[in-house]
């Protein structure tokens, strides 16, 4: 019964969202206050209705209502309660419902916190948000209804994929969606600004916190996913350049660029058209991500053809929003005249360079991700079947680009090579750019004030080079870059705190935005150092180990004391009893497991990890061997935790910056900001 009510609530939410789209947009155009006033209650109602539907689905999962098809396919009565709850979004339909819920939540929060927004801008933002909501609710209702019943309910469910029964992955999707969907806010503000025909400092200040929040959630979501891959997949990889990962990474890069360009709009009234364009593209990448991950097109264009309904719908959504917004942009961008002027060497120029590097990096990831598809389609069979439109000879054959069907792969080696230079360049120029004053700067003076950071980076470079004996450049250079970013952030805080006494007190009273910026930049440095260290210096040992035998690896002694069988709530495990020792003294006990989930008929490996500040020890137990003993794989992974530590710092920086006074003040008071905002 509750499921039917949930379904009904979703239909109502769709109707309300359509209303929220049409009335306020027309009202804002024709200046009808009554029509515009529909936006707020509609946004609230859409949120409440979607929340009710989500609660209904959650109730079905929690009570294991196997008359729902979705619950049968993704749950099991013996599954731990945590994973019954998180199982709601561990599948396509449920995760789409979560997506709609978060979308409605963001729309409603404009209604809650947007008292300061001008009436027409607010009506338009909510109208566009309503349009996105209506389209996705339609997608949910027509292609992916989570509330379908089964005629004959089974006794028990088929269980959630055991790889997903894990705390790291349980909370990875909500964060990711908060990020993806958060970018819809930037999009709505951009489209509303185009409709209004004006972008000013106040607009920059309203867009920035939403983008910041979305970027922060994306950072946390991506980090959670990467951390999960590290400990769950069994060999400690943390990033695979898989299309699904790229789908979340591209919006992250563009959101990072958008964050920085919105600062220029807010403080200097420049880069307006570009910022609006970035806001549109950022959400475009979110939609592309949804399309890539949900259409099945990654595996192959042919997998896409197997279930074309969802894919085509999503492609239509993408084409509709991007086509519409970009047309509007081409039409109205002229109106976005920039007022600020600045010299060739200035904070503005630095941020332009930041935007170029981030945007091109995202473009490289995009091209690499879709290239296998492009090749497969462009070289396919020589004739394209366009359905009702007839058959056309593939034009790429005519120009001789392809002469036979071809499939290629683009994987980690390509991305490592093509993407890394952008991040290195970004890291090198970042501390300079961050220190440049607005309007006009003296490059020499900034460079001189950075000498402590340069000295620190060079010292790290020399020290690490000497310690590792010149094996490869990756480790020393990566660590030096990290040191450069961290000490650069420290130098910036130090310089900002002024001169003379009471410096520490002034340091404490710096605007939170300054602290947030320094934290986030330092976090990037820590992550870069972690990636370089782990990639350059990881050591591993793969061998057959008998009970009682010890493996020596990078100064650690890893002893397999024994193996036991363990019964878990919904799995059975083979557990290795491993002692980790250093210099003859026991450090800790490790318990690597190999689990089998009988219902899902799937095995998983649970690595045992001894987390350390400087390095992790990572042990995986494998199969029993014919001649006795067990296959055991041991790794020492230097600086592994720095990767996620840096991500946490970055997200924390975003959070601190978000709590800056100017956003709290801006949210409360509706005041026009004078054009010439004083440069810092």
């Amino acid at each position: 019964m509750l499921a039917e009510l949930g379904h009904f609530a979703l239909i109502l939410a769709f109707a309300v969202a359509a209303l929220q789209c049409v009335l306020p947009l027309i009202g804002a155009q024709t200046r009808r206050a009554g029509w515009m006033a529909v936006a707020e209650p509609a946004a609230n109602a859409q949120f409440l209705l979607t929340a009710f539907a989500f609660a209904a689905l959650m109730q079905a999962f929690v009570t294991s209502d196997f008359s729902l098809r979705l619950v049968t396919e993704n749950s099991h009565s013996l599954k731990p309660m945590l994973y019954k709850v998180t199982g709601v979004w561990g599948n396509h339909e449920g995760s789409m419902l979560l997506w709609c819920l978060i979308l409605a939540l963001f729309g409603a929060s404009v209604a809650w916190f947007g008292q300061g927004l001008p009436a027409t801008l607010k009506a338009r933002v909510l109208g566009v948000q309503g349009m996105i909501g209506a389209v996705f609710l339609a997608f949910l209702l027509f292609t992916s209804n989570p509330f379908l019943r089964l005629a004959v309910p089974p006794m028990d469910g088929r269980d959630l994929n055991p790889l997903l029964q894990d705390p790291g992955l349980a909370f990875h999707p909500p964060f990711l969606y908060l990020g993806y969907v958060g970018l819809s806010m930037s999009f709505s503000f951009a489209v509303a600004a185009l409709l209004e025909g004006r972008v000013d400092a106040a607009w920059g200040r309203w867009v920035r916190p939403w983008t910041l929040a979305a970027w922060m959630f994306l950072t946390v979501g991506i980090a959670l996913g990467s951390w999960w891959a590290y400990y769950e997949l069994g060999w400690g990889g943390f990033w695979f350049w898989d299309p699904v990962e790229n789908a979340s990474f591209m919006p992250w890069l563009i959101a990072a660029a958008l964050l920085h360009s919105a600062v220029v709009v807010e403080k200097r009234e420049s880069l307006k058209a570009w910022t609006v364009l970035l806001a549109i593209i950022a959400f475009g990448f979110s939609l592309t991500g949804a399309f890539i991950t949900r259409s099945g097109i990654i595996t192959s264009v042919h997998a896409f053809a197997n279930d074309p309904e969802r894919g085509v719908f999503l492609l239509a959504i993408l084409a509709f929003f991007m086509g519409g917004a970009l047309t509007l942009f081409a039409w109205r961008a002229e109106a976005m005249t920039s007022r600020g002027v600045f010299g060739l060497v200035s904070r503005e120029s630095g941020l332009v360079l930041n935007n170029i590097l981030l945007a091109v990096a995202a473009f490289v990831v995009f091209v690499g991700t879709i290239w296998p598809l492009v090749v497969e389609m462009a070289s396919d069979a020589g004739v394209w079947d366009l359905g009702a439109l007839g058959r056309v000879t593939n034009p790429f054959y005519a120009i001789g680009l392809f002469d036979a069907p071809k499939r290629i792969s683009v994987g980690a080696p390509f991305f490592d090579m093509a993407f890394t230079p952008f991040m290195v360049a970004l890291a090198v120029v970042l501390p300079f750019g961050a220190l440049l004053p607005w309007k006009r700067a003296k490059a020499g003076r900034v460079a001189r004030s950075l000498w402590p950071a340069a000295a620190c980076a060079l010292a790290v470079l020399a020290l690490v080079w000497a310690m590792q004996g010149g094996r490869s450049a990756l480790g020393p250079v990566g660590l030096a870059l990290g040191a450069w970013l961290v000490s650069g952030a420290a130098v910036e805080l130090w310089l900002r705190s002024g001169r003379g006494e009471a410096r520490l007190r002034r340091l404490r009273r710096l605007p939170r935005a300054d602290w947030g910026k320094a934290l986030a930049h330092a976090g990037l440095g820590v992550t870069i150092a972690g990636i370089a260290g782990l990639t350059a210096w990881q050591t591993e040992d793969i061998r057959v180990v008998r009970e009682g035998q010890t493996v020596a690896l990078s100064g650690w002694d890893i002893t397999l004391d024994g193996v036991e069988e363990v019964q878990g709530p919904n799995y059975i495990a083979t557990r290795g009893l491993v002692t980790l020792a250093r210099d003859g003294r026991e450090v800790t006990q490790l318990r690597p497991e190999k689990r089998i989930y009988p219902v899902a008929r799937m095995p998983t490996t649970e690595a045992a990890i001894r987390n350390g500040f400087l390095s992790d020890v990572y042990v995986v137990i494998g199969d029993p061997q014919d001649g006795g003993g067990w296959a055991m794989r041991s790794y020492v992974k230097p600086l592994a935790n720095w990767i996620w530590g840096g991500c946490i710092l970055m997200a924390l920086g975003g959070l601190v910056s978000l709590s800056d006074r100017r956003y709290r003040v801006a949210a409360g008071a509706a005041r026009t900001v004078p054009g010439g905002v004083p440069a810092e």
Binding site: G234, I298, V341
Partner: protein, 155 residues
Amino acid sequence: MRRGAIRAALLALALWSGPALAVQPDEVMDDPALEARARELSKELRCLVCRNESIDDSNADLARDLRLLVRERLAAGDSDAEVIDFVTDRYGEYVLLKPTTGGANLILWVAGPAMLLAGLGVGALYLRRRSRAAAVTEDGLSPEEEARLRRLLEE
């Protein structure tokens, strides 16, 4: 009763081909230098039946066969390039995780640098226009006038 169930499940586990971990102890070559090269090569070759996994990461039987093939060729004295050619001849370009630079793939490789150049070009044009506008600053002073003002203030 319960132990029996565990035994049965473990037996089933042993019979499945699935859970084998990527590189197995019996695959590892005796010569560490050759093994290191084999690992590096394995990272560039795709497991044909997996989704975007290298044969170095994959648990699939086919990936194991390919790993053994790579090691066989290395033991026979092939260079890295010869091994890659050998595998590509048999399994096609699809097996390469780093695509070739020939033919249409040139677009893939050039796209990034070309876009960067274009971006830098447009950015430079924009900045020059902005800084030209800056020659007369908001308060209407040219750089010379500003310099004079600064001198006067310093005196």
